[in-house]
Structures are given as structure tokens and as C-alpha cells.
């Protein structure tokens, strides 16, 4: 096996790379070095007279036999390595707790603490055994081994061996043989790696997984490993075991396979709904750990072999259960037949490395070999502490044939303790039911208690609310407080009595026009006193109002008018009623005409009709009755104590349902309504002024507007007692910010237009767990259900579709009975009542609190306004300019959602012409921010539009990508470019999206440590893979600021290995050699840079004096042993001059590598570069071929180009840029007057063959100046020699040279 490291670096010669079985664990542990989650641990509780000496002997012997316990691990530039450290196994530790008042509890706590302590993989030991004495006849043996050394089965082997040896010692009988050597596991893996079976297995997997869908979890959020896990265990009854055996026998499956399949069926019940797939059989992708030992010589070797592979099962709930189990059994058998192929390899090959791109969902682990070891004369009990990392959730079944335990381990980042307990108990109940069911369809998901809680207890919201109308409530308030201020608009104030007089006057005129109960009146007025009077009057005459946007003159508004068929339009005189027959009555005419006594509304009459976006292309008119909105307003009045003294700001457009409580709540509670001027709702500064001047106590914000408002300095320090947020998810960070800026309380409300504005509520404190403030619990007389596709309630913590029922439901959609029936079906839990499908996804916490989780369809919200993407797509189609379109809501660079339309344009149409045509069809809020023309849409394997594969909209991006900022960002940019092999990086470059994998991440982190002087840790990189974010973190960490321009620059991590000095080329900077470090493991690569970079430095007289100065520096760093030198371009000439000087001082040269450098005679007659040419040399220094960019002439052009290319040279301080130019000119001058002194050493010349034809420059020219030339010809350009493409080839040669020179000079560390 390949040996990677030598004794001189502190690793034993026998160190070797990790096995495939260990790689994944290594990188996961490396990401989070302090995490104990990879410690596997168990404890054996022993009752009875223990022979402690015999047990100690047994443990010590097992430590000697199980070589894996002596493993050590370390990181090298070539990757992680492992070795067996002689004497590196742990010894049994003894802890006596017999004097402890509560020995058992203390032992439990101490054993858990021990299991959660991380180990030092390099220093070891990586395992531990402790014997705890609780009482003379009560002991615990705790065991812990890092998962790199042992998997769960290895733990079983080791524990059983300890028991066997103990029994042999105490009974005096002979013990059987110990374990085979660790080597056997490595050999078994190597055999498989070279076997034809591996290729067959690989082909099987790639075929089986080629259309693997995105993996959804049971809990919302990304599965990122946590340090520990929640655990809950439930024992299955013996009758369940009996039934399990019977089902297994009937179906021909093994009982573990039956459990695995049924666990998949349970998992399917807990997955979030898929839009458009309602009711279809659900595919579940489980992770199934295979022991990977059977039929292998590694079977009995304590080591880590377990292999987690994805099991795809389509859960057909309608099929006979036995049939479905048989089908699943066949899938599991196929998986096992190809079970040696590593899951980690599949992750890499399929790009399923974690987060949202993972290979499988929950793990199902059936462990039938967990018989508790028996110690002679003792009763024993086995406790499993940890068995590896829990990224998501693991269902583990532990059994020994007699009993069976369901163990549910869950990642605390995704599951609460209560949810974990719920899954364990529910899965156990589900299994028990399933084992006597004919079809999965017949099984409930919830236990009866859970069902009762979900449907009834949490919806116990009954509250007496009078059967009345808004008009009656308002009139009662008018009678109670006639002189109180009712309405303020600008300088105008109306008392309740005046409001009454003017609104009833208009109502009487409406009545005289024959308008009354059952009619609609359109209202299209800007915010004004007239708007308020219009709404009051329409309501008081008994009609329903239909608000329309006065500024929207699109075809969409005309359609709404047409369908609402109002009797009258209250609008300005110039209102364009389009095809509507209804007359327009402008405010100036309201005091004229006949009057009649209005009848007024009844509780069951419609109060208003609000249009919302419709997915089929036309807006839907939602009809809300008085009884519904009365419930909502009286609840709010009572819940928040709104009444006289409150000043409510009206700023929400009337077309948005939030405005309904702003308009009507003040007048039925005795508060004052303050109407903001038109347009003010978009202007934070104007708003702050109104809030302060008008002493507003109640107002509403859509969260995205609240964010803008809080960001305005004018908002700072305002006192607003009651602020309501709704319309979008309320981020917890925003709630926190609110409390930093505003004195007051923030209430999060939720509800669709179809349920009278809001149906749930919750205060936002800013300290809620999770990303957004929950939407809370239902208001009065309201029920919330979270249901799956088959209308079964989902468990707590699981995403379901939110359905609403109760008094606030809308009557339905105006003129759309079919749509109404579809969205308002019968409530299955309350026969005779209706419920409404919100299409929203949500989860319920164990306390009943609901949290919004997104949409189940293609409805989006832009700045709080509900938009059906289908309606925008339909409008695009109607322009006739678009053959096909897909509209998405995507975040812009600031993270705010905007509409992006992808179109296949008809011939001749452009985004601009499409936009023009669209603007007459849609109001501004529904217009796409970006129109992206495509020639074809990406399709998924089933031929449907693959929305995730649509390109990010860059063509029309509002702001161009900014160049890298100087400082950390530029330096980090260079490292990204180097590690990823990219020519251009931007501040937005995402390390992983740009092709980085785990190995490259380790390399980047090592390079950051070298360059920044501090290691941010892989964890930081995984958290902040975007360049500018990571740069910011590095700056925050106070990384040492080495500008990398000093005379010596450290290019590798400075281990104890031999130093290789890389001499700067003409520009004086040695950064071009950075890429070499990664390919020279065990070599300390040091760059020498020109003193000329400092503008104050004196000019050297000649190249030899410069070489002497460099030689001094080198000798100071490498006082003895052979010297290793390399130089590219003119740096090669300097390296040669240094070599001559060093030999004159009696030093031996171990390497003189000249990378495409030619003796000074080649340059003597060439003109010296002028300043222009010197500046252009910056291009070459940055690794670009200057001849490829003839137009880049001026300093600004060139520096601008380098900045844009993401090269740190573009960000050098101006003085240093001058220094580089100075260095180019002076070095060239020195070279022209230089005469090479002879060198005895041989030269390794790397010859870039493409640039020197016909120039007379040849490697052989060095012949006369050295002891011989070895040439490496590379078919490339001069500038390519420092590129990542050529570096591996060059460094291979350099390594060989250095190796052979060391063998010549010093005795090799290992013969």
C-alpha cells in the first residue's frame, strides 16, 4: 500500500490512507472537530459478584487483540492517513462511586458525559473502557470507540469477546481464538476495489438512482449534523413480535425487512405534500445501513465497515399490504446483492453531499444481533449510548429474537424532544396496526389521543359573538360617543356624529338609486375622507363593496368590474369603467339627488367582495359576509383591547384585505381612524412622521415593508403600542429588530382573504426558535387542521396542508360555484360544516402552535400581495408574443422575492416588447421584474418543466457583479481560484456551487490557515461558502493581517520538512508559486520576494549582490543540509545566481529547478521594458498571457482587468503596484548586466516548448553554467508553468529530485 508520510514528519512509515469505509466519517468529523457524535458507545450494567481482576484482564487482552483500538489518524496535504500506534490501545479505567449517595444516577450522568467527550484522533487513544463500581455487587462497564475504528457490529464483537474471555478466566475453561488482524479488513476492501463485481455494482446503482428525486425530510429545514441527538425508545409487545413473525412467514420476507418496509410507509405519512402529486403513491428514500461483513474475511475484524445505501420504495397505500411488502422485500434483496458499493462513493458521483442535496432521508437500522452478552454468575443489561451521527432521524430496531425495541434518534436541529418522542410512539403504534391490516390506506397516522388533540382540543375556540352586522355595530358606537373624534385625514377631523351624518346621507342616496341588500358597489378611490364615507355608505345601505385600485387601468380591472357587475361605481369622474354598464358617481356629486331609507344589511349578507389572484388566469372574487367579519373584528377588539384613545393608522390599499379591519374596527370600538395620505404607505420617512405627529397606537405592516421601515433612521425610538404584521412569514430576526427600534408590541397574524382577514395570531418576541415567528393558534370560533393528501391529520412537527373551518369562512367565489365547491368541501370532522383549503403548508408544535412553511402550489406573495404564478403566465400567453412561459418568484441579490418570467418568445418578440404588451394586462404589482428569453425549457426525466434547472436571471440583473474588495476578500478570492482552478471568481462565488468538494474544502481551509494565519475550520466554510461571507468572517475572527508582501512569504504550512525556496520572477512577488505547495507534501515551500516592492528600498548594484542578500536570508532559514531552489522566468536566473553564491559558501545544492528560465545572455540585447511594458508584465505575473490582451495598455485598464478577474494583484496598494513596476524594470536591468557564475549542481529545467521556437532560447544554454541539465519538456506556454494544469507534472519531477538528492546526501529515514 502507498506510503504517504515519512518518520521525519512525526508519522510512522506505515501510515496509510483511510479506507473508503472511513472517508465519509473523517470528513464529517473534520467539519465539526469537537463533535462527539462519531463516538460509538455502550454500557454493560452488571448485577452480582464481579471478579474485577478477571474483567480487567479480559479488557486488556481484548485491547491487545482488537488492533483497531490502537489506531491513530492525521491529516496530510495528500489527505488523511491512519496507522496502528504500538502500545496505543487504552487501558481499563476504574471509577468507584460506591460512596456516592446516588451511585446509579451519578454513573448514568458520568457515562453519558464520557460518551460525549470528543477524542484526539492524532494523539489518541481513540477508545476508552471504564469500570464503574456502584456497590460491591453492582458495576457498569462503559465502552467508547471512535466510529473511524469501529462500527456498531464491531462494538458487539468487542463486547462479546470481553464477556467470553471473562467467562473463560473465571471458569478456567479455554477461550477461543481472538480477532483476525486489522490488515484483513484493509485487504478485503482492496480486493473488492479491484474486483469486476465492483463495476457491476456501480452500474447497478447508477441505473437505480439515475432519476433520484430531491430528498424531502420529515421535518422542515436542512439536515446539518448536530453534536448529539434526542432519543426515545418504545418496547414492542410480545404479541406484536408474534404478529411480525407471522406476517414475515406469510410474505416470505425476513422480519427485519417487514419492519423496514413498514417504517418506509410510516415515513411517507410524514413527508410534506408535493404540489400536483396529491394522492399519488409516495416514493420514500430511506438510508439503510448494511453490515457489509457477510461472506468477507473482514467479517470478524473489529473495524468500521458499515455501508449506508439508499432504499427507494414507492408506498402504494391502496395495494394489498402483503403484495406491497413482497415488492419491497425484492427491492431490499436487490440492494443487498449490490451492498458492497460504498454509499460515500455514490454521494460523490451523484453530487449528493448533504444539505438539500442528500442521498437518502431517514435511516432505518434493524439490528437483530444485539443479544446482551452473558457474564458468568452475573445478570447483565446492555445500554446503547451512541452509534454514529444522526443527521436527520434514525429509526433503530434492536432485538434478540425475544424482544424488540423501537429506538428513535433525532437531530435536535430539526426535531424537538417532544417530536422525537411522538415519532417513536406513533411508529410503534403504526407498526402494531399495520401488522394486522389489509391495506396501508386503512391505517390512521395519529394515535387516537393525538387525533382528539389535533381536531378537537386545539380547536376549542368557541366564543359567544352576536349575530349582527358591521353597520349595526358602527351605529351603536356612533350613538355611544357622538362627539369623539372618528376620522382624521390631513388637517380634517370628523366626529362620530359627522361621520354618521355624511355617511348616512350618501347611503340614503344609494338607496334611492335602488341599491340595497344583495347588490355590489365598486369603490375605486384613493385614500381620502371620501373613500371612508363611500365604504361606510355602501355598508349602511346594505350592499357589499368591491374595492378596485384607482391606479390600475389594466384589462384585469375591466374583467373584475365585468364579473362583479356593480350597480354603481364610486370613483373620480375620470374613472374608466371600460365595458361596464354601471354609472360612475364622483364624490362631488354625493350631496345631490334623491334620498330613501336604506334597509341595512343582515348578518348573512355579503359585506365586501375582494378579488385575489387566480391560478387559471382570472382573479377570483371572494365574498365575505357580515357574520364572518364581525367575528374577526370583535375578536381583535377584545384580544388587543382596542377602544377609545386608540388611533389606528389606515395605510393599506383597499384592495388588500388587511384594510378591512383598519377601515371598520375603529368605528365599532370608539377609536380614531387616521388616514395616511395616498402614497405614504411606501415611504418610511413620511410614515414615521405621521406615526409621531398623529400619535398612532395601532398599525399594520407587511413584514417586507416593516423591514424597510425599521431600516429608516426616522423609525428609531418610536413608541407604537400595537403593531400587527401579516401577509408574509415574519422572520424572527425582523421581530428582534423591531424590539430594538420600536417601543411596543408586535403581533403576527395569519389568514387568507377567504377567511375574513386573519384566523391565527401570536405575539412576536424575537426570541422564537426557528426562522420565522409562528402564526400561532386560531381566533374565536375557528378551527385549523393540518392534513395530508388524504385529509388525515398529520403528526406534530410534520408539514401538512392547512385547512380552516369555522365562522370566518367566506361564502365562496363570486359566480364560481364549482371552484367554491372544490376549495370549500365538507369538513370531515364536523359533518354539515365546510372547511377551506388554504394551499398553505404548515407545521404544528406539540403545544398546538402553528408555523407557516410555504405554499403547496404556485401561489407566491410579492410584498405581501398574493399572486398566482398561473395568472401571470396566462397574461403572458395572451400577449401573443410568447410560445411558452414559466414564472417564478426568485430572490434578488438583496434576498427579496421578485417575479421572474422565463419565456420562449415568438419570432420577433423581445423582452421589451413582451413587457410593453404585458403592462396593459397586469397591474404593476404583478409585472415580472425580469423577463428571461430562453430557446428551450429544461425538462426533468418525466418530461415536465424542471423549475430548479432554470438559469439564474443574470442578463437583466439590476446591478452588475462588483469586483472583489481589497483585503480579505481579494486574498480569499485568490485561494478560491487556486483551489477550484477557476480563472475568475466574484464576491458571490459559492465554493460548493462552483465545484468544490470535501477534499477541496480541506485544502482551502489549510490554505486559508497558511495565508491568513488562522484556520476558520471546515465548519465555517460549510456555513459560509460564499466568498464575501467567508471573507467577512475571517475579518471578524481577527485573522492576522499578513499582506504577503514581505521579503519571505510562507507558501505551505511550515512543517518540519525540507525548505524549498521559490524565487520571485521579475515582478518581485512570489505568490505565483502558491499552487505548488499543495502538490509538495512534506516540503516547506518558502517564497522569496524582492526588496524593491518597498519603494524606499535602495537599488542593488548588480544581480550578484542581490543574490548574496537572498543567500543570507536563505541560510538564516536553512542553516544546514542541502539547499533546494526553484525559480520561474527571471526568477530562475536569480535562483541560479543564488546557487552559485551558496556553493561558494560551501553549501550543497539538492535542487536547482529553473522553470522556463534562460541565461542572461538571451536578454542582454533585448530592449529593457519601459514603464508601459513593465505594467503589462503585471498581466504575466497574474498568470495571463499579455499577448492575448493587446488592448490593455494603461495602468488603470490593466488593474481594472485584474480586479475584475478576481486577481489580488488588482487590489495591491498603489505604492506596492509602483513597487511591482519598479521591480520589473530593475530586475530586467540587473539581468542585462549579469554574467552567470558557474554552478556545480545539475539544473532541472522545465521547458515550455510553445514560446521559444526561433528565439534561440533553449534549456541547453545552461549547460555551460552548471553541472548538467535535466529537461522536462511541457507542451505549453511560459505562463502556464505556474498554472494548476502544469503544476502536478512539475512537482512530481521536483519531488523525485528532492527525494533522490536526500537519498544521496543523508541517510534516508527509512531504508
Amino acid at each position: 500500500m502507498k506510503q504517504l508520510v515519512s518518520q521525519s514528519q512525526g508519522y510512522p512509515a506505515a501510515a496509510r490512507p483511510l479506507c473508503d469505509t472511513q472517508d465519509g466519517i473523517w470528513y464529517a468529523q473534520r467539519r465539526d472537530p469537537g463533535s462527539p457524535t462519531f463516538m460509538t458507545g455502550q454500557a454493560l450494567w452488571l448485577e452480582g459478584p464481579l471478579d474485577r481482576a478477571a474483567l480487567a484482564r479480559a479488557v486488556d487482552q481484548v485491547c491487545a487483540e482488537a488492533e483497531c483500538l490502537s489506531l491513530r489518524f492525521a491529516e496530510t496535504a495528500e489527505g488523511p492517513v491512519q496507522w496502528l500506534e504500538p502500545g496505543g490501545a487504552p487501558r481499563l479505567a476504574f471509577r468507584d462511586l460506591s460512596d456516592d449517595p446516588t451511585p446509579e444516577a451519578s454513573a448514568r450522568a458520568a457515562i453519558l458525559a464520557e460518551a460525549q467527550a470528543p477524542v484526539d484522533l492524532r494523539a489518541g487513544p481513540i477508545a476508552g473502557f471504564t469500570l464503574w463500581t456502584l456497590a460491591p455487587d453492582r458495576h457498569v462497564l462503559s465502552e467508547r470507540i471512535h466510529h473511524l475504528a469501529a462500527d456498531g457490529y464491531a462494538m458487539v464483537l468487542i463486547t462479546n469477546r470481553i464477556a467470553a474471555l471473562y467467562n473463560a478466566f473465571v471458569t478456567g475453561s479455554p477461550a477461543e481464538d481472538g480477532f483476525p488482524p486489522y490488515e484483513q479488513a484493509i485487504e478485503a476492501e482492496a480486493r473488492y476495489r479491484d474486483a469486476p463485481k465492483r463495476e457491476k455494482d456501480r452500474a447497478y446503482w447508477l441505473e437505480a438512482l439515475k432519476d433520484l428525486p430531491e430528498i424531502e425530510g420529515m421535518a422542515p429545514g436542512d439536515p446539518v449534523a448536530s453534536a448529539w441527538f434526542h432519543r426515545h425508545e418504545v418496547a414492542l409487545g410480545t404479541d406484536t413480535l408474534e404478529r411480525l413473525r407471522r406476517v414475515a412467514a406469510d410474505t416470505g420476507l425476513s422480519w427485519p425487512d417487514v419492519l423496514c418496509a413498514l417504517s418506509a410507509a410510516y415515513t411517507a405519512r410524514c413527508l410534506p405534500p408535493v404540489p400536483g402529486q396529491e394522492g399519488a403513491p409516495r416514493e420514500v428514500v430511506l438510508g439503510v445501513p448494511l453490515m457489509n461483513r457477510m461472506g468477507s474475511k473482514a467479517a470478524r475484524v473489529p473495524s468500521t465497515l458499515v455501508n449506508v445505501l439508499p432504499l427507494r420504495l414507492v408506498v402504494d397505500e391502496e395495494a394489498p399490504l402483503a403484495d406491497w411488502l413482497k415488492e419491497s422485500g425484492a427491492a431490499m434483496a436487490a440492494l443487498r446483492r449490490h451492498g458492497k458499493y460504498r454509499g460515500e462513493a455514490l454521494r460523490r458521483e451523484l453530487g449528493r453531499l448533504g444539505g438539500q442535496r442528500r442521498l437518502h432521508g431517514p435511516l432505518v437500522n434493524v439490528l437483530p444481533f444485539d443479544a446482551t452478552p452473558k457474564l458468568a454468575g452475573l445478570d447483565s443489561q446492555l445500554q446503547i449510548l451512541g452509534a454514529g451521527s444522526v443527521d436527520d432521524i434514525t429509526f433503530c430496531f434492536r432485538g434478540d429474537g425475544q424482544s424488540l425495541l423501537v429506538q428513535c434518534d433525532a437531530n435536535p436541529a430539526l426535531y424537538s424532544k417532544a417530536t422525537t418522542r411522538g415519532h417513536a410512539a406513533r411508529l410503534a403504534a403504526f407498526l402494531e396496526n399495520a401488522l394486522s391490516a389489509d391495506r396501508l390506506l386503512d391505517l390512521p397516522t395519529l394515535t387516537p389521543e393525538e387525533h382528539q388533540r389535533h381536531v378537537t382540543t386545539r380547536n376549542a375556540t368557541d366564543h359567544p359573538v352576536p349575530e349582527t352586522s358591521l353597520a349595526a355595530l358602527t351605529e351603536a358606537q356612533i350613538a355611544a360617543t357622538p362627539q369623539a373624534p372618528a376620522l382624521v385625514f390631513g388637517a380634517e377631523t370628523l366626529s362620530y356624529a359627522e361621520l354618521d351624518r355624511r355617511s348616512i346621507s350618501l347611503a340614503r342616496r344609494l338607496a334611492a338609486r335602488g341599491i340595497g341588500r344583495g347588490d355590489t358597489v365598486a369603490v375605486a378611490l384613493p385614500r381620502s375622507v371620501a373613500l371612508i364615507l363611500a365604504l361606510q355608505a355602501v355598508m349602511r345601505c346594505g350592499a357589499a363593496y368591491v374595492p378596485l385600485d384607482p391606479e390600475d387601468a389594466s384589462a384585469r380591472r375591466a374583467d373584475m368590474l365585468d364579473r362583479a357587475a356593480p350597480k354603481l361605481i364610486l370613483a373620480e369622474a375620470d374613472f374608466d369603467a371600460a365595458a361596464s354598464d354601471a354609472p360612475v358617481l364622483p364624490p362631488e356629486d354625493w350631496d345631490e339627488g334623491e334620498e330613501a331609507t336604506p334597509e341595512g344589511p343582515r348578518p348573512g349578507d355579503p359585506a365586501y367582495v375582494l378579488f385575489t389572484s387566480g391560478s387559471t388566469g382570472t382573479p377570483k372574487g371572494v365574498v365575505i359576509e357580515h357574520g364572518a367579519i364581525v367575528n374577526r373584528l370583535l375578536w381583535m377588539q377584545a384580544e388587543y383591547g382596542i377602544g377609545p384613545g386608540d388611533r389606528v393608522l389606515q395605510k393599506t390599499p383597499a384592495t388588500f384585505d388587511v384594510s378591512v379591519w383598519e377601515f371598520f374596527l375603529p368605528f365599532l370600538s370608539g377609536a380614531t381612524l387616521v388616514v395616511a395620505p395616498p402614497g405614504a404607505h411606501r415611504d418610511p420617512v413620511a410614515l414615521a412622521g405621521i406615526i409621531r405627529d398623529q400619535q398612532i397606537t395601532v398599525l399594520h405592516f407587511v413584514p417586507s415593508m416593516l423591514a424597510l421601515f425599521l431600516a429608516a433612521p426616522a423609525a428609531k425610538g418610536l413608541a407604537i403600542p400595537k403593531v400587527f404584521a401579516s401577509g408574509e412569514a415574519l422572520p424572527v430576526t425582523l421581530a428582534r429588530q423591531f424590539h430594538q427600534v420600536i417601543t411596543g408590541r408586535l403581533h403576527n397574524l395569519y389568514g387568507p382573504t377567504e377567511a375574513a382577514v386573519d384566523v391565527t395570531f401570536r405575539e412576536g418576541q424575537g426570541d422564537e426558535p426557528g426562522a420565522s415567528v409562528p402564526i400561532g393558534t386560531p381566533v374565536w370560533n375557528t378551527r385549523c387542521y393540518l392534513l395530508d393528501d388524504r385529509l388525515r391529520p398529520v403528526p406534530d412537527g410534520v408539514t401538512g396542508r392547512l385547512w380552516l373551518a369555522g365562522r370566518q369562512l367566506a361564502r365562496g367565489y363570486l359566480g364560481q360555484p364549482e371552484l367554491t365547491a372544490e376549495r370549500f368541501p365538507e369538513d370531515p370532522f364536523d359533518p354539515g360544516a365546510r372547511m377551506y383549503d388554504t394551499g398553505d403548508l404548515a407545521t404544528m408544535a406539540p403545544d398546538g402552535t402553528i408555523t407557516y412553511q410555504g405554499r403547496a402550489d404556485f401561489q407566491v406573495k410579492i410584498r405581501g400581495v398574493r399572486i398566482e404564478l398561473g395568472e401571470v403566465e396566462d397574461a403572458l400567453a395572451r400577449t401573443g408574443l410568447v410560445a411558452q412561459s414559466a414564472v417564478l418568484a426568485l430572490p434578488d441579490h438583496a434576498g427579496r422575492d421578485r417575479l421572474v418570467a422565463y419565456v420562449i418568445a415568438q419570432e420577433g418578440a423581445t423582452p421589451a416588447t413582451i413587457r410593453d404588451a404585458l403592462s396593459s394586462r397586469l397591474p404593476a404589482m404583478m409585472m415580472p421584474a425580469v423577463i428571461v428569453p430562453l430557446t428551450a425549457f429544461p425538462l426533468n426525466p418525466s418530461g415536465k418543466l424542471d423549475r430548479k434547472a432554470l438559469p439564474a436571471p443574470q442578463a437583466e440583473a439590476a446591478s452588475p457583479v462588483r469586483p472583489l474588495a481589497p483585503g480579505a476578500e481579494s486574498r480569499l478570492g485568490a485561494l478560491y481560484a487556486e483551489v477550484l482552478g477557476l480563472s475568475r471568481v466574484t464576491p458571490e462565488t459559492d465554493f460548493f456551487a462552483a465545484g468544490g468538494d470535501s477534499l477541496m474544502a480541506v485544502r482551502l481551509s489549510l490554505r486559508i490557515e497558511e495565508v491568513f494565519g488562522s484556520d476558520p475550520g471546515l465548519g465555517t466554510l460549510f456555513e459560509a461558502p460564499v466568498l464575501c461571507d467567508l471573507a467577512r468572517r475571517l475579518e471578524q475572527q481577527g485573522a492576522a493581517h499578513d499582506d504577503g508582501l514581505g521579503p519571505v512569504v510562507q507558501l505551505s504550512s511550515g512543517t518540519a520538512g525540507p525548505k524549498l525556496f521559490a524565487i520571485h520572477p521579475a515582478g518581485g512577488i512570489a505568490w505565483c508559486y502558491r499552487g505548488f505547495a499543495a502538490h509538495l507534501p512534506g516540503v516547506d515551500l518558502v517564497g522569496l520576494q524582492s526588496p524593491l516592492l518597498d519603494p524606499a528600498a535602495p537599488l542593488p548594484a548588480d544581480l550578484d549582490s542581490l543574490a548574496r542578500a537572498y543567500c543570507d536570508r536563505i541560510e538564516a532559514l536553512a542553516p544546514e543540509g542541502p539547499l533546494y531552489l526553484m525559480g520561474w522566468s527571471l526568477g530562475g536566473i536569480i535562483a541560479h545566481a543564488i546557487a552559485a553564491e551558496a556553493e561558494a559558501r560551501g553549501r550543497h545544492l539538492g535542487l536547482l529547478a529553473l522553470l522556463d528560465a534562460y541565461p542572461s545572455q538571451c536578454w542582454r540585447d533585448e530592449p529593457e521594458p519601459d514603464e508601459g511594458a513593465a505594467i503589462r508584465a503585471l498581466l504575466a505575473i497574474a498568470g495571463h498571457d499579455p499577448d492575448a490582451y493587446p488592448k490593455l495598455v494603461s495602468r488603470e485598464d490593466i488593474l481594472g482587468f485584474l480586479r475584475e478577474a478576481g486577481h489580488p494583484l488588482g487590489h495591491l496598494p498603489r505604492a506596492v503596484q509602483q513597487g511591482v513596476v519598479r521591480s520589473v524594470q530593475q530586475t530586467n536591468r540587473l539581468v542585462r548586466s549579469h554574467r552567470e557564475r558557474p554552478v556545480r549542481a545539475r539544473v532541472l529545467h522545465v521547458h515550455a516548448t510553445r514560446d521559444h521556437a526561433g528565439t534561440g532560447r533553449s534549456p541547453q544554454l545552461w549547460q555551460e553554467h552548471c553541472g548538467g541539465v535535466d529537461v522536462l519538456d511541457l507542451d505549453c506556454h511560459h505562463s502556464d508553468l505556474v498554472s494548476l494544469v502544469q503544476i502536478p507534472e512539475i512537482t512530481r519531477e521536483i519531488r523525485d529530485f528532492m527525494q533522490s538528492s536526500r537519498e544521496d546526501v543523508a541517510a534516508p529515514p527509512q531504508a
Binding site: W255, M294, S296
Partner: protein, 91 residues
């Protein structure tokens, strides 16, 4: 003791394995990889439980280590005829 007198014979083992996998006994060729034939560790466990009723001292992990029926038979035979064979249950 001849093979016929053993509590667990070669033919019996072959038949039991075949039954577990669901193939005719003659397809369980003595030198064929049992994993490739489709046998899994749970089935091994089941077989050992069945055979354990006839003879004691069958070590699961030894069977796991072996790849073929031929190797399995060697283990089973040794358990019945070797020094530990006295432990074989008498029926």
C-alpha cells in the same frame, strides 16, 4: 461418527439454505458465493437459530466470515466432531 449420524448433515444444510433464498437445493453449489446467491445476514441468523436447536456452539460470526457452503460445512462439521463436540445436544 459418519456424516449420516451427525445431527446436521451437509444435505440438510444445503436444503435449508436453498429454502431461505427460495431456490432449488441443487443451485446452492458448494463453492458459489452465498451473498451473490442472495442470502442475507438475517437469513444466516435464521439458519443458525434453526441449526442451533440441533447442535450447540455454532458461532454466527464464523459463518459470516465464510463465503460458500463448502466453508460453512467445514465449520458445522468441526462443531459436531471436534473437541467441543461433546456439547452437541443429545436427542
Amino acid at each position: 461418527m459418519t456424516q449420516d449420524e451427525l445431527l446436521l448433515g451437509h444435505a440438510q444444510m444445503q436444503a435449508d439454505i436453498a429454502e431461505q433464498i427460495g431456490i432449488p437445493p441443487h443451485e446452492v453449489e458448494p463453492q458459489e458465493s452465498l451473498v451473490d446467491l442472495g442470502l442475507d445476514s438475517i437469513q444466516v441468523m435464521t439458519l443458525l437459530m434453526k441449526w442451533g436447536e440441533k447442535i450447540e456452539g455454532l458461532d454466527f460470526s464464523r459463518f459470516m466470515e465464510a463465503e460458500t457452503l463448502e466453508e460453512w460445512w467445514a465449520i458445522a462439521e468441526a462443531a459436531q466432531t471436534g473437541p467441543a463436540a461433546g456439547k452437541a445436544a443429545v436427542r
